[in-house]
Amino acid sequence: MEEYGGGGGDLLSEAMGSAARVVVVEDCVEAPGAFVLHLLLKRALASGGAAAFLALAQPFSYYDRVLRKMGCNLSLHRRNERLHFFELLGFPGGAREGTIADSFVRLYNEIQRLVEANRAGENAGQFTVVIDDASLLEVVALGSVNDVLDFLHYCFALTSEMNCSLVVLIHEDIYADEENMGLLLHLRYIADLVIKAAPLSTGLAADVHGQLSVVNKGTFSEQRAKAQKVWNFHFKGKENGADFFYPGTRH
């Protein structure tokens, strides 16, 4: 029973059910899905947990302002060490010590340290690792998909060993060709929940920004296995969140 401030999050939280371990958010140029990441980050911090945010797409100031409009103060959480923000716009940085793999290893080690520290701490709440986004990890790795997959698999291992969940954003339209679907397929395979943002076939509209499909594999909960698995609904992004509604139910 997640509390969603500002309403409208009901359909999405209903579709997602209780905390999934691995959530993959897919989007495309016509329908950006970053707003789902923002919602999930807010949700992770609101329920008393902690989060590590790997930001490759935007600087901290951007997320701070966006989440502030949604009622979540990232600066405060960062000061209280509930949010660990990795600003990776320039990752791995100028003086590259070693290979890309080494940089990924260092990054992973830091994340692991944080997760372990959180588990050992007094209020061992849920820890969420959010990655924005996986397609940029490939650019960082200059195309070495294996390095990216290694890194993601290590993060995935954290979710099963510790009380940790993983949220990854990936641009599915980059992987439309058969040859390079590797990363996308891997992520879809390890995901418990796949949330895909797509444009409407009729194009852009002021009232409906796109459609969201949620596939809930229910691998982590027995009751879930019998519940509804596939959800389709429309969304409209707003400054303070997003509205989710079934087609035609918009007043």
């Binding site: 966006v66 502030r68 641009h171 439309a176 060709d177 390079n180 852009l204 400054e239």
Partner: protein
């Protein structure tokens, strides 16, 4: 509603307009301050500034997908660069050509505000006021609204002439304006890697740091045909996308805007999408077929159009809400054969003689096959 009691949390989507109207006419720096801490520079095309909600956002990357058949991306680039020269903003230009300096000779000069233009603007204002008065007695069909001109054009004439200029594409920019200027040119045609260009960008941008609330000098980076096949680094897909990523990171923290044009068809679908995702503002040019009878029947003013401009993405500061434009495909026209204007597409009146159903079906079918609005 505005935040009550000084709470910073839970701010609604309404933001108090903190922009000082006086500051917006700080024409010397050519920077316009908008809401939410946004700062804009003009694209050099007043219509485009209006459509994008102010201009090109400082700190953003604008990408323009070229059409292999027509060089209209160069028109956009030239207006962008000329605007920077007119406002004395530092400019870094890079092109897939041997001598980028020569390209500067093709930059257009601002339209001289002659009596002709003064009359045109006055006419525009008068027509709009007449239109307003007549609206009560006469219902104007929506498609003819554009002929009544823009109210804002007359009102903000003074501000506009400082922030954004109309450029005369037939007249080259005066030499002396170019000579005294901070303009750097880099050729990327013979470069094996993009590291040289990246270093130039780094040093260029390091002189233009970003500070909140200040309208400091804004800089412009213009890169023409970044993935042109004749460039030596052309095969290095990952290097190119990595360069764009680092450029974007540097531009984010600087007081500048980067405009990159690229022939999207020479990239693989996968990489083309990667480039598109990296863009903050994404535009594309589409050629218009000559002598297309179906199009001529479908659109008004077809004869004057030189191409289509499509707006795919519009940069925003600190917002997760996408910008939904009323019309994302616009026609490129040359007004009086010299200045670039963008207009919404208007469907031509249906030809009564051929019968309503057949005309409608023929226009629908041609629309489906050729046009992609």
């Amino acid at each position: 509603m505005a935040a009550a009691g000084g709470r910073t949390l839970g701010r609604s989507s309404f933001s108090r307009a903190t922009s000082n109207p006086v500051a917006s006419s700080s024409g010397a720096s050519g920077v316009k301050i908008g809401p939410n801490g946004a700062a804009f520079v003009s694209s050099g095309i007043p219509d485009l500034d209006r459509i994008l909600g102010g201009g090109f956002l400082l700190g953003s990357v604008v990408m323009i997908m070229e059409d292999a058949d027509v060089p209209h991306h160069l028109l956009l680039l030239r207006c962008f660069m000329s605007q920077g020269v007119v406002h004395k903003q530092p400019l870094l230009f890079s092109g897939a050509m041997k001598e980028p300096r020569l390209f500067l000779g093709t930059l257009p000069a601002p339209v001289s505000s002659s009596k002709e233009d003064g009359r045109y603007r006055a006419m525009g204002a008068a027509a709009s006021s007449d239109g307003q008065a007549n609206d009560e007695g006469l219902r104007i069909a929506w498609q003819y609204k554009k002929y009544f001109g823009d109210d804002s054009r007359a009102e903000h004439k003074d501000n506009k002439q400082e922030f954004s200029n109309d450029f005369d594409l037939r007249k080259p920019l005066e030499r002396h304006l170019l000579n005294g200027q901070n303009i750097e040119c880099v050729s990327i045609q013979d470069a094996d890697t993009l590291s040289g260009l990246q270093d130039c960008c780094t040093s260029f941008l390091s002189k233009l740091p970003r500070k909140d609330g200040g309208s400091l000098t804004a800089g412009r980076i213009a890169i023409q045909s970044l993935c042109a096949p004749q460039c030596r680094y052309f095969e290095k897909d990952w290097d190119m996308v990595s360069f764009i990523r680092s450029l974007k990171a540097m531009v984010r923290s600087s007081n500048s805007v980067a405009v990159i044009t690229f022939p999207s068809t020479v990239l693989s679908n996968s990489f083309c999408k990667r480039w598109q995702h990296l863009a903050d503002t994404l535009l594309s040019i589409k050629a218009i077929p000559d002598e297309d009878k179906d199009l001529a029947k479908l659109l008004t003013g077809y004869q004057d159009m030189v191409g289509f401009l499509r707006v795919h993405k519009v940069a925003q500061t600190n917002s997760q809400v996408p910008v939904i434009l009323e019309a994302s495909t616009l026609s490129l026209k040359l007004r009086k054969r010299r200045s670039l204007v963008l207009e919404r597409l208007n469907q031509a009146p249906v030809d009564g003689s051929s019968g309503p159903s057949s005309a409608a079906s023929s226009s629908c079918s041609s629309q489906g096959s050729q046009l992609d609005f």
